[in-house]
Amino acid sequence: MRSEAYLLEMKDIVKTFPGVRALDHVSFRVRQGEIHCLVGENGAGKSTLMKVLSGVYPHGAYEGEIVYKGREAVFRGIADSEKAGIAVIYQELAQFPELTVCENLFIGHEIMKGNGARIDWPASLRRAEELLLRVRLRVDPSVKIKRLGVGKRQLIEIAKALSKNVGLLVLDEPTAALNDDDSANLLNLLRELKLQGVTCVLISHKLREVLSLADTVTILRDGAVVRSLDARAGKLAQRDIIRHMVGRAIDDIYPKRNKSVPGEVCLSLKGWTVYDPATEREILHQVSLSVRRGEIVGLAGLMGAGRTELALSLFGNTPAYKITSGELEVKGKTARFTHPKQAIRMGLAYVTEDRKRNGLVLIQDIRFNITLAALRDLVKGLAVDRQAELRAANEYKEAVGIRAPSVRQLVGNLSGGNQQKTSLSKWLFARPDILILDEPTRGIDVGAKFEIYQLMNRLVEQGMSILMISSELLEILGMSDRVYVMAEGRIVGETPACDATEQIVMAMATNAQEASA
């Protein structure tokens, strides 16, 4: 490593957000011409690091130094990093579906005719064909982007980067949305580009592809680099990487619960297969699971494994997925909900992953939000009984421990933890039998987390069933009775929480193909 030339050196990068240190003195070095894989749990800081690199967080918004091609780089925005030859391709492609492949390739840096006033279409098309050839893609450059699948779009994005004479190509989970063929195709292309001298940073959750491709693997955890490992000798094994990705002890951040024998099955799902017309993909394949009375069932997996889609498809199916097959039973009765109101009536509740986007009405007060899902219970005659409503809101505010001067406080002014508690209260007020929690402690402080864990324990002791989706392995292991692991829209494993370790769960989540084969 010593004498080799580094294309990129990021030194001692510190990036803080209000209340969190997302990157804690991270040093990251990429050699000229290598494929460097960046791995880590969700929230480990991979994407933040790449955003620092690309100028999304401009120079001055972080501490530390970036040296690119031997010179200190000061990027004030994405335009600066692009000019320097750094191209970042995100998972969510920034493309224009209604424009053609050719138009997409050159958007923002069109090829102009001599006088510079008009676009030179014939030259653009010729250049587009060259670029498509380089990424081994056989499509007509005048076809609209929306007609192509995700795999091909991904390649076009790479072609676009190549057209700008890219020096460093960063791919953020490029294969997450691809099928096996498209993935293999993409990985081959990356190998070819490497031979042509393109340096590449690849963020991936799929350790198998990481090992087949990487020269170096850097592992991030909790915003810090744990280790950079040389993968060229072929001695690196998946379990080594997993050990570094996790490897913390469960301290007593998870309150103890009197585990009683769980009761009858409350929620059962068999062969649940769901197709998403919007992305034209089957997003869930033959998912089967069950939750018993008085049980906390954890649903682990990495981002994009299909857990939120699973929750939404069974809770009233709001984004209009097509449930192609499968059977849902709630408290012994077959059900299929077409609107969340039906699910609520059957005793389900779903605390959403993103409380600001689809959990709370931020411009209304705590009282309004708490009673929203079960206002029916407060109606007397024609009108809502506002005194009773106020009492109920105050009662839940106390019970759940929402810290605010009064229930008339606007939810938008509360801290993340208190917002989350409000969101929880809303569903507890609806008195559900089955509570689905989607990332219940994301973005909230440790104290609020603990209170939410205690509350969850109280609820299951009272006979509620909880299905908890979480990307935090420790939370899954610390809170659940039983754990399902999902990857790529499938259940890839089930285990009692007491037998599971982080390594086991992470291996299941990252080894999807092997496990399901």
Binding site: F315, G316, T318, H339, P340, K341, A343, I344, R345, Y350, T352, R357, N358, G359, L360, V361, L362, I363, Q364, D365, R367, F368, L372, A373, L375, R376, V379, L382, A383, V384, R386, Q387, L390, P405, S406, V407, R408, Q409, K426, A430
Partner: protein, 400 residues
């Protein structure tokens, strides 16, 4: 918030800060009242008192009637983040329908329910497109503008302007509530004014007590008393002036009925909660079990029904249905709602404030008519007031 930091510096100072905080919190609402007062004072002076004469104030109420009804419906539509551009021609078309039905011998007690029912059906058609087919409301109701403008021409095609002779129908906008006491003054009007003032004060005091019991900060007592004194004296003054002329117009009673019922639905019922929840965050509303499509559908039905009622009021005031009735009504209705404080981003708005917004727009119109201001300038002035109100609203929300 300021009161806490100021506490050590003395009681008087903290009270002043509290007052300032309360004023700042509601700056938007006060601005609207101040604008109305300024319009009244300036118009009164400019017209040498003619604007404030009992006769003109009565006219102002009659003129405001149909706009207020439209604006109240529009407020609900805007709260759920939609818009209805078709209300003007729906009003024109349904006004002409009512005239046609009356001239064909239908009695008024049949005509009004029929017209309101057709209005609701029009709303059902537009609501279906918006809520189920997901055609944007802007497009759906723009198409509605074409359609109902055409239908209005069709209804009035043979006859041109349809004259309405039915006395009861004309009284809807031109009549007054009956006189029951002897004397030159219309005492019943004044008694109603007194009752309104008393009820308003009682409701406000009770609401304030409940609020403070709920633990939310209420405006300082002094400010509250001042507000109440102002409101009741305005109501009593208006009642006194009206009772000195011919009394309370039926229009005012109809608008009051519409206002109170919509206000009840919005503030007291589950449906009203759904409306505000959808306006605040439609995705969260849907996931909380609110049937967003159904609520949207009902709101559009109600809107077109109110448009029909507005058409009836307008036709009644002119005692005739003209082929151009309804032109630009939607502009006044939308402007009234926004001046009344509906947020452009949805989720926020009160129909009581919308009524004040409608009064702002119509007293401007009335006053400029008295002053003989050319209609071209009138549009410009109204447009400027409208955009200033909305820009001010956005700025004050951003700071809050």
């Amino acid at each position: 918030m300021n009161a806490q930091t100021a506490a050590p510096r003395g009681e008087a100072r903290s009270r002043l800060d509290g007052l300032r905080a309360a004023l700042r919190g509601n700056v938007r609402e006060y601005a609207m009242y101040i604008a109305l007062v300024v319009i009244f004072v300036v118009s009164g002076v400019a017209t040498k008192g003619l604007f404030l004469s009992p006769r003109n104030l009565t006219d102002l109420i009659k003129q405001t009637g149909y706009v207020a009804v439209l604006a109240i419906g529009m407020t609900v539509v805007l709260i759920i983040r939609h818009i209805d551009l078709s209300v003007g021609y729906v009003a024109g078309f349904m006004g002409a329908m009512s005239a046609k039905l009356l001239t064909n011998g239908f009695p008024i007690y049949a005509v009004i329910p029929i017209v309101l029912a057709i209005g609701a059906a029009i709303g059902a058609y537009q609501g279906f497109l918006v809520s189920r087919v997901h055609v944007p409301a802007f497009v759906t109701t723009l198409a509605g503008m074409f359609i109902f403008r055409g239908l209005l021409s069709l209804v009035t095609a043979g006859t041109g302007t349809i004259i309405v002779r039915d006395e009861a129908f004309r009284a809807l906008s031109n009549g007054f509530i009956p006189q029951i006491f002897e004397g030159s003054r219309h005492w019943l009007t004044f008694i109603i004014g007194l009752a309104c003032a008393a009820v308003l004060a009682a409701v406000k005091i009770r609401a304030r007590r409940n609020e403070s019991r709920a633990g939310s900060s209420v405006s300082p007592a002094l400010l509250f008393i001042f507000q109440m004194a102002l409101f009741t004296s305005v109501i009593l003054t208006a009642a006194w002036i009206l009772s000195g002329y011919r009394g309370l117009p039926w229009t005012a009673a109809i608008v009051a009925a519409v206002l109170l019922s919509v206000n009840f639905v919005l503030t007291q019922t589950r449906f009203g909660r759904s409306v505000y929840a959808i306006g605040g965050n439609p995705e969260a509303a849907e996931l909380s079990g609110i049937d967003v499509a159904k609520v949207t559908f009902i709101v559009f039905c109600g809107m077109s029904m109110f448009a029909s009622l507005a058409g009836v009021l307008y036709t009644s005031r002119l005692s005739s249905a003209t082929p151009t009735a309804g032109l630009g009504f939607e502009m006044d209705a939308i402007a009234s709602s926004y001046i009344g404080g509906v947020a452009v981003s949805g989720g926020v708005g009160k129909v009581t404030n919308t009524l004040v917004g409608a009064l702002v727009i119509m007293s401007l119109t009335n006053s400029m008519n008295l002053l003989g201001v050319d209609i071209s300038y009138q549009y410009v002035v109204k447009g400027v007031i409208f955009i200033v109100a909305v820009a001010f609203d956005i700025l004050s929300r951003r700071r809050a």
